[in-house]
């Protein structure tokens, strides 16, 4: 066996095992289906458009929530990074809000917004505010003191100081925070759909299980994993490309 085959050997063996099991012992099972049947179900979902619609919904809600959460987190982080007094004052409020698990807000979002995109966006936004806020605050604190001295010497206004000195200096780390946010946003949006929101990939997975269609269920599970993997890799690639362009050594 060649070296290149090694990483895929175990998954292939497992899939073959599942195929054999589902075709013999578990033939009438509501829980397992042969991977080949799952592949067919995936192809059917491709064909009738339900796959794209659900994927689009989940990714759209995740992206909107990430955008909203990151914007709030980044501006708060900028503020708290610049002013030690603001950071010390808001410390307690942040420590009280931050540990609330984002999924605990699903019922509240459901009450306020009803089902649909808005509730999902709000929960994703809540979850993505924190990593952005923390990383941004740390990044602003670690801006080269020389740069701040330059801005003082030039007598820049606070706004100019933020826009012309601080933001460019923290941009590479802002992208690191965004990449982490992408992973969080995807996980949270799928979770919201599984727990409550009747839309998107998570709901499709849930409904496939409830209608006792294990092939479709495994197809969705595989698809959610594949989409998550692809998007995380793409985000990592984009972040590294950005860091290289800015002359930083990729982390």
């Amino acid at each position: 066996m060649t070296r290149a085959l090694r990483p895929v050997a175990v998954p292939l063996l497992l899939l073959a095992g599942l195929e054999a099991f589902a075709r013999t012992v578990g033939r009438n099972s509501d829980a397992v289906a042969p991977p080949s049947a799952a592949l067919l179900a995936l192809a059917r979902a491709f064909g009738d458009g339900s796959l794209w619609q659900a994927t689009g919904f989940t990714l759209g809600a995740a992206a909107l929530g990430l955008g909203l959460g990151s914007a709030i987190g980044a501006s708060l982080g900028l503020l708290l990074g610049l002013s030690r007094r603001a950071a010390a004052t808001s410390f307690l409020s942040i420590e009280v809000l931050r540990p609330i698990p984002s999924v605990a807000l699903i019922p509240l979002a459901m009450l306020v917004f009803g089902f649909g995109a808005a509730m999902e966006v709000s929960v994703v936004a809540f979850a993505t505010v924190w990593p952005m806020l923390i990383l941004m605050q740390a990044a602003v604190r670690q801006v080269e003191p020389c740069l701040l001295e330059v801005s003082a010497a030039l007598q820049l206004s606070p706004w100019d100081r933020a826009v012309k000195i601080i933001v460019p200096a923290v941009l590479p780390r802002l992208f690191v925070a965004l990449r982490l946010g992408v992973a969080v946003a995807l996980v949270v949006s799928v979770t919201v759909e599984i727990a409550a929101n009747p839309n998107g990939m998570g709901y499709a997975l849930m409904i496939a299980q409830q209608s006792l269609d294990p092939a479709l269920m495994l197809a969705w599970l595989f698809w959610i994993g594949a989409v998550g993997y692809a998007i995380n890799e793409a985000a990592l690639f984009a972040q590294r490309a950005m860091a290289r362009r800015m002359g930083e050594v990729a982390e």
Binding site: T89, P99, L186, V187, I194, M206, G228
Partner: protein, 253 residues
């Protein structure tokens, strides 16, 4: 950040109280519907009453128990499997890419599959919690074992340590910071998956309580549940941070 400057502490308490006061004004002025914005005092009353005479205390214990047992299982499994895989370069080449591939899968996506396989039971939720929370510990253990410094390996060879002694005396202590960081992340995952599991599989606990409260428009109970879940998250995270600082004291020396 953790320096206790008394003036800043007072200011931060005042800001928090200010937020609560804002909540009080907003809810009393009726700017937002009572259906989802209870007054602070009614949320507090629901919390106290539920804890003392209602079922809230029992649900809290159930959720904490699920989270802790799942987390312990996840940590044990993660460290054991991680040691097996991380200790052998062969196992790493065969398995690492599969593990990396599975990592971004949301743990909650396994709930429907687990329902199909195990049915709606509390052991099903426990299984998903343990399985979902295992990944951070597993990957951290593998990473920590794989990054033992060259010199320590040479020391082990010079001392003629056996494989087991090497893992126990050098490998795992070296991986400890990674493992503890993974275990902290895994605790967060455990709480989240416990809540989702309770919501979907109708297992008694805070997750189910807040979902039912929302469905029956009992916003006071809903807020009480959210406050309790926040408290659980805060307490578990702080306890682990303290434990981590103590366990790793020897490294900074």
């Amino acid at each position: 950040m953790r320096r206790l400057d008394p003036r800043a502490l007072v200011a931060s308490v005042l800001l928090l109280l200010g937020f609560v006061a804002l909540w009080w004004v907003v809810s009393h002025a009726g700017w937002l519907s009572r259906a989802f914005m209870p007054t602070p005092e009614s949320a507090f009353a629901a919390l106290v009453q539920g804890m003392i005479s209602g079922p809230l205390a029992g649900y809290t214990v159930a959720t904490i128990g699920r989270m802790v047992v799942g987390w312990l299982l996840a940590s044990l499994l993660g460290i054991a499997l991680g040691t097996l895989i991380g200790n052998s370069p062969a196992a790493r080449t065969w398995l690492q890419s599969t593990l990396e591939l599975l990592r971004p899968l949301p743990a909650s996506a396994l709930v429907p599959v687990a329902i199909a396989v195990f049915g709606l039971s509390s052991s099903m939720v426990l299984f998903v919690v343990a399985f979902g929370a295992m990944w951070p510990v597993l990957l951290a253990t593998i990473h920590g074992l794989a990054s033992v410094p060259r010199r320590l390996e040479e020391v082990a060879r010079a001392l003629q340590l056996g494989r087991l002694a090497f893992v126990w005396k050098i490998g795992l202590p070296n991986a400890m910071p990674d493992i503890l960081a993974g275990m902290r992340l895994s605790m967060t995952v455990s709480l989240i998956v416990s809540i989702v599991g309770e919501m979907i599989a109708s297992q008694q606990g805070l997750g189910q309580t807040i979902l039912l409260a929302a469905r029956t428009f009992q916003s006071s109970e809903l807020f009480a549940g959210i406050v309790l879940l926040g408290a659980i998250g805060f307490a578990s995270n702080s306890l682990l941070a303290i434990a981590e600082a103590r366990l790793l004291r020897w490294q900074r020396a």
